[in-house]
Amino acid sequence: MSYAFFPGCMIQLRLPYMEVAARKALDLLGIELIEMPQASCCGDPISFQSLNKESWLAMATRNLCLAEEMRKDVLTLCSGCYETLKTANVMLKQDKQLKEKVNGVLSNVGREFKGTVEVRNFFEVLQRIGPEKIGLHVTRPLKELRVAVHYGCHLTRPGDVLAFDDPMRPVIFDDFVELIGAESVPYLRKMLCCGAGLRLVEPDEALKLVEMKLKYVEDSKADCMAVLCPYCMIQYDLGQKMIKRQKEGAFQIPVFYYPELLCFAMGVKPEALGLRFHRTSVEPLLKKMI
């Protein structure tokens, strides 16, 4: 299996350690990633869509056209890119008028959307490999690791367009955490947004959303959090360093990108990943895990 590889702005340019983990995990599972040298930002579902939806769709669709030329389905690493590219793909396939409108814009740059590829997130690719096959690669199950799963909004919502898992009661992330031997612990407000979309204009209030969730995670006695989106990663990993708590003391909750956990479970040496780039140290927990 091979995919047109779409890591997105945030991961490529702000958090490349996430890209390392995704590439290593998929390589071990026999997935070939094909670069997209002319790809741009997906279109950004928050700021760009808010300014001009038509422009947002056209920018997203241009990226889809590149994958169509390659005759490859797209793999996105960021849930923001996933929402944007999948929304464009689904809407244009369903709505002939909209397709004509966007193709009208793209005709100015000599491109045309045909609707011949699919957009996949990391878990969808794992599903297609098959849990049984992945299980065979798990040589170092993460026994006794208690993980607070944070789905993030744009992996499952809007549910009618993404149609990936239940938009409010998803299970897939928990299943993949358990597949690698760890425990997915229940905690309050599991589906609460990380607040990245609010950070743009109200950073202090957005940080309160981070603090709220971290408190519930702490209460659950989880060892760490797991995320699948770079925006959620920044909110919880960097955000907890920015929160100054008076009485309880600082948070110390390592936040992992799911592919990092998958790499550990498949025996990848921690030194091969960019763990030192996490803002909240993962070192103390690493000793327990490996």
Partner: protein, 158 residues
Amino acid sequence: MSNEDVPKELEELIKEKVLFCYQCGACVGSCPTSRVISEYNPRKIMEKLILGHWEEVLSGKLIWLCTLCHTCYEVCPQGVGISHIIVVLRNLAAQRRSAPAEFLLSAKQLASTGWTSPITSAVQRYRKELGLPEVKNPETGELIRILESTKLKQLLEG
């Protein structure tokens, strides 16, 4: 504030979606922003649209506080599609040049390099150290033509 001036797209949305809102408050009960900013209340935004106070909604800052998490979209028993309505409201407000500057930044960055984050020498070094390929800019000519033909370019330069 006469109804004749309602932008057509908004008028249709109000008629086809917003008027079905019966003010139950499921949206505000599940809204992350409302948890930390009490003035932000999606139910009240719908109420204002129903009552014809769309001008006030478009010119205010509240619509820019939504995180677009789409929780209200999922929980609304009437299928009003609030987060999608917020996007339409923001688009209309942006046309009137009342989008906050923070929202214009990433689109401006995209127009100049193709990415919403700058490509710095530090990040290239960081990538090299991790064994990752160098990030390159796409040819931005195509992107700029898309921004021009959707009339976003002019807005960014404004």
